[in-house]
Amino acid sequence: MAHPAVMRPPVQREIGADVYNEKLGMWVFLGSEVMFFTALIGSYIILRVGAPEAWADPNEILAVPITAVNTFLLICSSVTMVKAFASVQEDNQEALKWWLVATVIIGAAFVGVQMYEYSQLVHEGFVPSGYVPGSELAERAAHGELPASVGIYGSSFYTMTGFHGFHVSAGVICLSFVTWKAFRGKYSAADHRGVEVIGLYWHFVDLVWIILFTIVYLI
């Protein structure tokens, strides 16, 4: 470790944001994340509104019930994250560890379910470029039960949910690191920056999912 000491001791500074650097930094970084998802979601809305033909009903193509369960899972992980943070504030080391472990497991489960959903969709014939020729969905489209083309549907669906999944995965990795540090007793009521900062990120990713689930699966 090169500079564990940098910025750690109390310093005389101008009054800044009145929060410690890591928390400020995470808030700032999340500002950039907001813009990233705005680009993806905004493009989805523009493409969907401007689509030349009818948009396919999500119920016909996507696995809405299983994803609803997955959404519930992710919301639960936000709750366990809150519990973990509350525990460390009370200096309850045991509770901190196990709430963090729970969060990691649920987060990983979310990614697992999403992978399963993708594999099912691909199997049925729905890929980023649209229908797979000759697949079940393509047959139904040929019979007029589904829109003739779901090219931009597939493009935006996989890109948005894929990048969200990427963010959850990154979060799980960082959370695992925080959990490992928690097991080594690195956090306390006095110093729990790591837990709080990863918590901010985790809640943000959760919030993005709720928006995505609403506009991609429900509407």
């Binding site: 109390p10 310093v11 005389q12 944001a17 009145d18 400020l24 493009s155």
Partner: protein, 588 residues
């Protein structure tokens, strides 16, 4: 909370002597080393970008003649020294890409953001030094990927630096696949580097200012870098998102920008310019900032209207978000939007004018020292004015019908980016070189370089207005194809020769830069008699910058103050009448 008793600066400082070479100069977390790394990285790309421009100008000036030493290029680029049209399009694309993303942007944001922010606000380092190191080492592979594109089959990206879809989205239209994909990948990776950098700058400026360094005592360079960092933070992710979508269109068959399957080519333009116009200000605001510092120093006067300078920076940063449509006046978007975008675009002239008049106000009744940085800064103002005024022509959506996509636009962006940003960069490098390397750059070589660059820059780019007004299209491989362009060919030749001389003049800078590093006069602590905090520490400053955190007693531009005999009064100099600044003790 961990409250070790070691004062911050000592904790950092004491480690400086133990670091092995690789940790001190390669994988360094010291903001000053990282700034210098960015300097060398981006100067390399500046040089490469200039060479690409030289090749383009050969083709435009002498379309039928083989390029001297062009025979060393492979058959796929220039058989017998004659450039191929597809290679010319790659040159157009990569000249813009190198200059915008790998030269000017890292020079301003990467170099001066890194080097100046902690030194000028009195911090020992960035808020997140390791993140800062990551930011540089993410930029390096991005640069390598971008260079690699020249060596892949099908050649490098050839859809322009704006990569308009569907030309860029489907290899069918350009014959380029891997090159375009590398281009997109590289920009997405570079974007991550920029975002990490911006996060760091913002956190540092907000939280790490020395006691007494209140917001309105910040030098304008820091204000400009702060606004720029916000723009980077919010604009770059838009480009990353768009680049990823285009990358998927190229690789896994998505249809975002493919009109044959419901995609929208104009969506790319909206995304690109929604990023791209803030990007334009990312490329000029820091230049405005450093120029403000240097002009105050050279004029030995406080900056005229410091507060309105700050508000003008903020206004430009804000307006930058609502003008992107002016790049798309002729794109076929709703014409009513065209009028709205014209008005918002016109309004940008106002804060820009405020800045120009305030720079002049700063020089008015000054005691002007025309040192090399000052020469470059005055030239910045003079050239930026031309770039700004030519902007008014194209801001008028009606006249833009005629000059859109002509050399008038090329002239405009070069007056802003070369005449503006690059002159500011040359000035700033000369100004802070002694702090960076502990030695002065040679003043005579600096003046020769300045005058040659100034003259040949104008000879090269001013006539472009004229051929643009004649309707000369940009990105044109061979102007002799058109009858109406043939009378302009002598001007094209003249421009090309001027560009070659302009490129040759840069040799003086390269020599000066390298020679001074080894043989320059040793720099004193404060060679320019400036007021900034960075001049209160040795040249170059040690790791951690100060033994003891400096205190700040006044604003950044107290030149010729009646309070003291000398004509400068540094921010860190305590007069008898000054009180110690009150600051918060923050547990970190």
């Amino acid at each position: 909370m961990a409250t070790s008793a070691v004062p911050l600066e000592q904790a950092v400082h004491s480690e400086a002597h133990e670091l092995p070479f690789i940790r001190k100069y390669i994988f360094s977390t010291d903001h000053k080393i990282i700034g210098i790394q960015f300097l060398l990285f981006s100067l390399l790309f500046l040089l490469l970008g200039g060479m690409l421009a030289g090749m383009m100008r050969w083709q435009l000036g002498f379309p039928d003649a083989p390029m001297p030493v062009g025979t060393i290029l492979p058959e796929t680029m220039a058989p017998d020294g004659i450039l191929l049209p597809e290679f010319y399009n790659s040159l157009v694309t990569m000249h813009g890409t190198f200059m915008v993303f790998f030269a000017i942007m890292p020079l301003l944001v990467g170099v001066f953001g890194n080097y100046l922010i902690p030194l000028k606000i009195g911090a020992p380092d960035m808020a997140f030094p390791r993140l800062n190191m990551a930011s540089f080492w993410i930029a390096v592979p991005a640069g390598i990927l971008m260079l690699a594109g020249f060596f892949v089959e099908g050649g490098h990206a050839a859809a322009g630096w704006t990569a308009y879809a569907p030309l860029s989205a489907d290899p069918e239209w350009t014959g380029v696949s891997t090159g375009q994909q590398l281009w997109l990948l590289s920009l997405a990776i570079l974007g991550l580097s920029s975002i990490l950098g911006a996060t760091n700058y913002i956190s540092t400026i907000v939280n790490l200012r020395a006691p007494g360094m209140t917001w309105f005592r910040l030098p304008l360079s820091i204000w400009a870098l702060f606004i720029t960092a916000i723009l980077v933070l919010l604009a770059i992710p838009i480009l990353s998102g768009a680049a990823i979508m285009l990358f998927f269109d190229q690789t896994i068959g998505t249809h975002f920008f493919d009109p044959t399957d419901g995609g929208q080519p104009l969506l790319w333009q909206h995304l690109f310019w929604y990023f791209g116009h803030p990007e334009v200000y990312i490329l000029i605001l820091p230049a405005m900032g450093v120029v403000s510092d240097i002009i105050a120093n050279g004029s030995r006067k406080p900056v005229f209207g410091y507060h309105s300078m700050v508000y003008a920076l903020i206004a430009i940063g804000f307006l930058g978000w609502i003008v992107w449509g002016h790049h798309m006046f002729q794109s076929g978007m709703n014409p009513t939007l065209g009028t709205a975008f014209m008005i918002s675009t016109m309004l940008i002239a106002v804060p820009s004018a405020i800045k120009v008049f305030n720079w002049m106000g700063t020089m008015w009744r000054g005691n002007i020292r025309l040192h090399v940085p000052m020469l470059h800064s005055v030239a910045f103002v003079a050239m930026f004015v031309i770039g700004g005024l030519s902007g008014v022509f194209m801001a008028s959506n009606t006249f833009d019908i005629y000059i859109h996509d002509t050399y008038f636009i090329v002239a405009h962006i070069h007056y802003v980016l070369f005449g503006g940003s690059l002159f500011a960069i040359f000035g700033a490098i000369t100004f802070w070189y002694p702090k960076m390397f502990g030695r002065m750059m040679n003043s005579l070589l600096g003046k020769i370089h300045f005058w040659l660059t100034f003259v040949f820059f104008n000879l090269a780019f001013f006539p472009m207005h004229s051929i643009g007004l004649g309707g000369h299209m940009r990105r044109l491989y061979d102007p002799s194809q058109y009858q109406f362009l043939q009378p302009m060919q002598p001007i094209n030749k003249f421009i090309s020769i001027s560009v070659f001389l302009l490129l040759a003049s840069q040799i003086f800078f390269v020599i000066n830069f390298i020679m001074s590093w080894f043989n320059g006069r040793k720099a004193p602590e404060n060679p320019w008699e400036d007021n900034g905090l960075e001049w209160s520490t040795p040249s170059p400053p040690p790791h951690g910058n100060w033994d003891k955190s400096p205190a700040v007693y006044r604003g950044p531009y107290e030149f010729s103050s009646p309070l003291v005999e000398e004509d400068f009064l540094p921010q860190y100099r305590k007069l008898e009448t000054d009180e110690e600044p009150v600051a918060a003790t923050r547990e970190t």
